[in-house]
């Protein structure tokens, strides 16, 4: 099963890279040269590799945030808001707190985690207390957080010396620092990733969440505290997104909350979780892959003038291709297995078994349509 998924993912990635090549070629860009720039500017030098890792540190956090949510059947699409609230908390604490570094840094990181988790807690409570669908409430809260932080950075927290909306610079005690171009946030993100992996795959809570993700009714029947786990999963998901935002402030180059700080990191995380099938380990891999695409796209723009936004297009194609190839492979193999069973039964001369296997094949082809995720959400 795992090998089958790996093959499907490889097929999907290759297909989407070829599709990207075709698009570039059709638009008259030197396609092969663009691709070689894409990879050489993201992998084949120390600076390039470190830039990729810096970017991956953000993506891995938003990615695991989405994976933890989706994987336990909470459709948390509020990474945008949680990211911004985390970044804002880090900026506010970084400006206000002037304690020694060993005390300030953990405090600022904690603030961003709490802010992100708090923002997702709002949606979790709306779901539990008021039965409001979390996938709509988190989306709406994104806009609220976006405008709220925009107001803060252009009003109460505006740096009077700045020409565009941004906060003041944080105290140097709240800086993670750069080591030869490798941001300290890589270490923090790697630790958080390891902890999340352990919690998800090795703890009772993680196990219950995964069961909830597979089948909520079974989880409830099996004695899981579904509402409690739902809130905890939402908190964990929000905390990871908030941490990603906080690291943008304390581990970045600018050390402040600037307009547009979230870029597209939150939605990139959602895509990474989807393409990884909500597995934490695969989320790490795809976060690296997406970081390669995004970092390399800058180099591609330098070398062959392809707008760097091409990375966004390529990412969406990767998601569609990988997920579609995963489903098609599954259906194809299920059909193949049924056909083999039918043929074997015919060879044995058992007409009834052959008929049954053929029926099974047809049924599998008809009803193996995946119905995961939020298919029934609007009716709930």
């Amino acid at each position: 099963m795992r090998r089958q998924q790996a093959v499907a993912a490889a097929v999907g990635v290759v297909v989407s890279l070829l599709a990207g090549l075709m698009i570039l070629w059709l638009q008259g860009y030197p396609a092969a040269q663009s691709y070689s720039a894409l990879f050489s500017y993201s992998l084949f030098s120390q600076f390039a590799l470190f830039s990729t890792l810096n970017k991956a540190s953000t993506l891995v956090l938003t990615g695991t945030s989405a994976a933890v949510g989706f994987g336990s059947n909470c459709i948390n699409l509020g990474q945008v808001g949680q990211f911004l609230m985390g970044a804002m908390a880090a900026a506010a604490f970084g400006i206000a707190v002037g304690l020694p570094k060993w005390l300030t840094l953990p405090l600022v990181i904690l603030a961003s985690i709490v802010a992100g988790a708090g923002w997702s807690l709002l949606a979790a409570l709306m779901k539990l207390k008021w039965r409001m669908n979390e996938f709509i409430t988190t989306l709406m809260l994104n806009f609220v957080a976006d405008y709220f932080t925009q107001w803060l950075i252009s009003g109460p927290m505006l740096d009077p010396r700045a020409y565009s909306p941004m906060t003041r610079m944080t105290n140097p005690q709240a800086w993670l620092g750069m080591y030869n171009g490798l941001s300290g946030s890589v270490a923090v993100a790697a630790c958080s990733f390891a902890v999340t992996w352990l919690v998800w795959n090795r703890s009772k809570f993680g196990y219950e969440c995964r069961v909830m993700g597979q089948n909520p009714s079974f989880a409830a029947a099996g004695g899981c505290a579904v509402p409690r786990n739902f809130v905890l999963a939402m908190l964990l998901s929000g905390a990871l997104a908030g941490l990603a935002g906080g690291l943008m402030v304390i581990g970045g180059m600018q050390h402040r909350f600037v307009k547009g700080i979230g870029a597209n990191y939150a939605w990139d995380g959602v895509m990474i979780a989807i393409v990884a099938g909500n597995s934490i380990a695969a989320t790490g891999l795809y976060a690296l892959f997406f970081a390669v695409l995004q970092t390399g796209a800058m180099g591609m723009e330098l070398e062959t003038a392809v707008p760097s936004e091409f990375a966004l297009v390529l990412q969406a194609i990767v998601v569609l291709a990988v997920v579609a190839s995963r489903e098609s492979t599954r259906l194809f193999l299920a059909g193949l297995a049924a056909r083999i069973r039918a043929r074997r039964a015919i060879a044995l001369g058992d007409a009834r078994a052959a008929q049954a296997a053929q029926l099974a094949q047809r049924a599998e082809a008809d009803h193996a349509a995946p119905t995961g995720g939020g298919q029934d959400e609007p009716r709930a």
């Binding site: 709406m140 809260l141 895509m271 966004l312 297009v313 969406a316 569609l320 997920v323 609007p378």
Partner: protein, 289 residues
């Protein structure tokens, strides 16, 4: 013109894209397709409408291109979600991202700008000076089309053979298949209809509401439409009422902009109103049980 009149007029203008996308989403709602891609379809429609209007210097071409853009996005959705049986949530999210990335990329690639593209060469949708009084008269004609479409869709879904099949495809596709009608085809049609209407909504945004294309200019309207559909359980007349209500809140937010309240805070109003509406809905549905 009095302030109240101005408010009602701007509400109607702001309600139109939500209404159009909502009607489109009603079709997919009844076919039980989880259509989270409306946001992206709208954004693609807004872009292709501006591109078409700019290239041909004609609003007719722009409008057609907008609908065409929505249809292309819908065809992609159909290809993956219906033909290849990929999960609808996954496909929809990917199409939203493709729309965001694709339009941002195309904006730079075709027009060489970041952020927003405006030009005198973009022809806007004409306004109709209908003799309907100061509130209803003088809007871009798509506004009237949207109002009429709400009535047509209500009849179409509830009273025609296609509507019956559509609802059957949502309730129990096996029954429809047994009756000799492909439920997959009905689902595909519902997605295409929603694509066309979301494309129209996008074209209205970029050629009627304003005359420019800006990155991510749909700005959550597709998701508000999704909330509206959930709130009204897909009934087009309910969608009409709810989107007018959201238009009103949008208008209130805009008319507050001249006051002491910062613009960033007044822009939150429609989104908070959506949350409040969902809360009211959850109260009502609890009473029903």
């Amino acid at each position: 013109m009095s302030l109240a009149l101005e408010l009602v007029r701007s509400s109607l203008l702001a309600a139109t894209p939500v209404l159009l996308a909502g009607i489109g989403g009603a079709y997919t709602y009844f076919a039980n397709v989880f259509n989270i891609a409306m946001e992206g379809m709208m954004l693609i429609g807004a872009f292709t409408a501006v591109a078409g209007s700019y290239a041909a210097r004609s609003w007719v071409v722009g409008l057609a291109a907008g609908i065409g853009g929505g249809l292309v996005a819908a065809a992609l959705f159909t290809l993956f979600a219906v033909a290849l049986r990929t999960d609808e949530f996954v496909t929809g999210t990917a199409i939203n991202m493709l729309a965001l990335g694709g339009t941002t990329y195309a904006l730079r690639q075709m027009f060489g700008v970041r952020g927003a593209f405006m030009s005198g060469q973009i022809q806007a949708i004409p306004r109709w000076n209908l003799p309907l009084g100061p509130v209803l008269g003088g809007h871009p004609f798509v506004v009237y089309v949207a109002l009429a479409l709400a009535l047509v869709a209500d009849w179409h879904i509830r009273r025609t053979r296609f509507g019956l099949r559509l609802r059957a495809a949502g309730e129990d596709p096996r029954v429809l298949d047994a009756a000799g009608v492909s439920s997959q085809a009905v689902r595909a049609w519902s997605i295409m209809i929603s694509g066309a209407l979301c494309g129209l909504a996008g074209a209205y945004l970029s050629l009627g509401y304003v005359t420019l294309f800006a990155e991510n200019m749909s700005n959550g309207r597709g998701w508000i439409s999704l909330a509206v559909i959930i709130l009204t359980r897909g009934r087009p007349l309910g969608i009409l009422v709810m989107s007018l209500l959201f238009g009103l809140f949008d208008g209130i937010g805009m008319s507050l902009q001249g006051t002491a309240i910062p613009a960033q805070l007044t822009q939150m109003v429609p989104y908070i109103a959506t949350l409040v509406a969902l809360r009211v809905y959850s109260l009502r549905s609890r009473n029903e049980h």
